[in-house]
């Protein structure tokens, strides 16, 4: 189990935010990079074991999730029921394997157990389910809804004068859902500056590139016209993500959106930028091994990830 360097107690009434980390610290960045690597490998292994799953969009958001869990969220395994914890909602629920992996890395669940993806009687369903996994915060899988749920949480936390913040990760294809724009309008109207949306802008959705399915550009202009504070960053540059999150936390009376430019399938060369790896795919042994090798796993690590289950 891995810990964030600056764990601090979350105060329950009139809580102060935990002091921000030094986000340029080389060791912090290396820790998060290691977490992201762990997430990518775990994603490949769990989808391999499951025999189905969406690798493309799980790989593209690995760095974002690692930054959130590794440095941003005031959330630790022993605070998952603290009313003043920060909340993270994976609105693009089909990236569940990445959520399970980052949760495993930071000690919210067991890493080996979390390889039981999509299996009967396992809590690691194809899409996150809060009744199975309390730290999933809500159940997602139908695009657009997670954003609204996060908005409801942010609204409620504000009513309680909590300093807790709410984060939601959306897919770019997901931005085509009308519910997303209902939530965008509503969050701005209610001045929910405790809400931060991250868009995993990998330029692809289920069947093809966004621009071929339903163009989203100019995405930042859309969100700005909906009265959001918007920044565009490289969604694989850990320092950029951390500083984006840092700035997002400082908006006043405006919700913040980070448009994270990413590569679908990031880290696995044969998947990168190819829509057919969106999902739901079955990975062969060879594909899984190739992917893990590309993710710098040693032969021993590959064996452990792909066969460790059976022992």
């Amino acid at each position: 189990m891995n810990m964030k360097p600056a764990k601090a107690e979350i105060q329950t009434e009139g809580a102060q935010r935990v002091q921000p980390l030094n986000i340029s610290s080389p060791s912090l960045i290396e820790d998060i990079a290691a977490a992201a690597r762990f997430v990518r490998r775990h994603v490949i292994a769990s989808i391999y074991h499951a025999g189905s799953g969406h690798p493309g969009g799980a790989l593209s958001c690995a760095d974002i999730l690692a930054c959130l869990y590794g440095a941003e969220l005031n959330l630790w395994p022993d605070s998952i029921h603290d009313p003043h914890r920060d909340r993270f909602v994976l609105s693009k629920g089909h990236a569940a394997p990445a959520l399970y992996a980052v949760a495993a890395h930071y000690g919210f669940c067991d890493a080996k157990d979390a390889l039981n993806l999509r299996k009967l009687n396992s809590p690691y369903q194809g899409h996150p389910h809060v009744k199975d996994l309390p730290w999933a915060e809500t159940s997602t899988g139908s695009l657009g809804q997670g954003f609204s749920v996060a908005l409801g949480m942010a609204m409620g936390l504000k009513l309680q004068h909590s300093t807790a913040r709410v984060y939601a990760l959306l897919g770019d294809g997901e931005m085509q859902e009308g519910e997303v724009w209902e939530a965008a309008m509503c969050a701005a109207h209610h001045k929910l500056d405790n809400l931060c949306v991250l868009v995993d802008y990998n330029k692809m959705q289920s069947d093809d590139r966004n621009e071929n399915i339903m163009g989203l550009e100019p995405l930042a202009a859309k969100l700005r016209a909906f009265n959001w504070a918007v920044a565009e960053i490289d969604g694989h540059d850990i320092k950029a993500i951390l500083s984006g999150l840092h700035r997002a936390a400082a908006t006043f009376e405006k919700p913040a959106a980070l448009i994270c430019h990413t590569v679908k399938g990031k880290g696995v060369p044969y998947m990168e930028n190819l829509p057919q790896w969106h999902g739901s795919v079955k990975l062969t042994r060879q594909q899984a091994e190739d992917a893990l090798a590309a993710l710098d796993a040693t032969l021993w690590e590959i064996k452990e990830l792909l066969d460790g289950q059976k022992s």
Partner: protein
């Protein structure tokens, strides 16, 4: 644009606030019992004047949350409010609850959230707004969501009790109110329990099982039948799910014929729930009173009830058909 000079504004007579409709009863009850539920928040989609929620807004503006005309976001956000400790009551028209049913399914029922959904304007009771606004599908649709409790109280007194009972109940609830001035049926001694049907008039030849505005009409039908020496039992089935199977079986055994009456399509709603219960527990002939798989139309609620054959005389006719089928069963 030339702005016209300010003229003295005569106060408009809002249809929404006149009379003792179920929605008004709901809104008043909500405001009245709110102090006992400090976590209560009421969600509105720019229609509080129509749902009765305006009473709550007036009394507790700080706990009234405005979502604008955006029902999907409102419904799912209720799940989020529940997740951070609130007791959210989502209010809109029944047909717009349907618009957000997938949100109710996933972000409320599946996620296990303790959210109440209160739907005004169900059925042809909506009246002049017409067919587009008259939800005839909501009981069937919400009943099919796993774990969703579905209730439809019959009169203002019961609505007040049901409002409190719903707030005390743990789990997602879908409750129908109503738009038209409601008949008063129950007195001060009335009680309400989720999951329980009630015999409100006894009889032995047939049982009329009704919910919502049809309960009053079923009572009228029983009076019509009494004039013809037919003894009809009337059951107020205010909870459609979980349905009171034991009571239904008892009525089937004791009276041998059943009529269901609802302001809803005859498919899948109260009639469907009763037919399923009978098939499980005590097969028995049933006649279904409701909209016969057609949409509604504009008109006054009482004339529409006549037109679409859900008024008391039609319930009485259905009772006679049901009784005549006993022999063949």
């Amino acid at each position: 644009m030339a702005k016209k000079a300010e003229a003295a504004a005569p106060a408009p007579a809002l249809i929404g606030t006149s009379g003792d409709s179920l929605r008004e009863a709901f809104g008043k009850a909500l405001a009245a019992c709110a102090n006992d539920f400090p976590k209560l928040v009421v969600l509105d989609a720019d229609i509080a004047g129509g749902t009765g929620a305006h009473h709550f807004r007036k009394a507790f503006p700080g706990s009234f949350l405005q979502f604008g005309i955006a029902e999907q976001n409102m419904m799912a956000a209720a799940g989020g409010l529940s997740a951070v400790g609130y007791l959210p009551v989502v209010t809109t028209f029944a047909v717009f609850c349907l618009r957000a049913i997938e949100q109710a399914r996933l972000s409320i029922a599946y996620a296990g959230r303790n959210v109440k959904i209160v739907a005004s304007h169900p059925g042809i009771d909506v009246g002049p707004d017409g067919g587009s606004a008259q939800a005839l599908e909501d009981l069937a649709a919400f009943r099919a969501i796993p774990g969703m409790t579905v209730i439809s109280p019959a009169d203002p007194a019961e609505m007040a009790l049901a409002t409190r009972a719903m707030l005390e109940f743990e789990g997602p609830v879908y409750m129908r109110t109503g738009r038209s001035p409601a008949k008063r049926i129950f007195g001060k001694d009335h009680t309400f329990e989720i999951g329980k049907g009630r015999i409100i008039r006894d009889g032995k030849d047939v049982t009329l099982i009704a919910c919502g505005v049809e309960v009053g009409r079923a009572l009228e039908a029983a009076a019509i039948l009494a004039d013809e020496d037919i003894s009809a039992r009337v059951v107020n089935m205010a909870t459609i799910k979980p349905i009171d199977e034991a009571l239904i079986a008892t009525c089937a055994r004791e009276t041998g014929a059943i009529v269901t009456a609802e302001d809803h399509n005859i498919y899948g709603g109260l009639g469907g729930a009763v037919a399923e219960a009978l098939a499980r527990a005590w097969p028995c002939p049933v006649e279904f009173v409701g909209l016969k798989d057609t949409f509604g139309a504009s008109g006054e609620p009482e004339e529409l009830a006549e037109h679409f054959a859900i008024s008391a005389p039609f319930i009485a006719e259905a009772a006679k058909r049901a009784i005549s089928r006993k022999a063949h069963a």
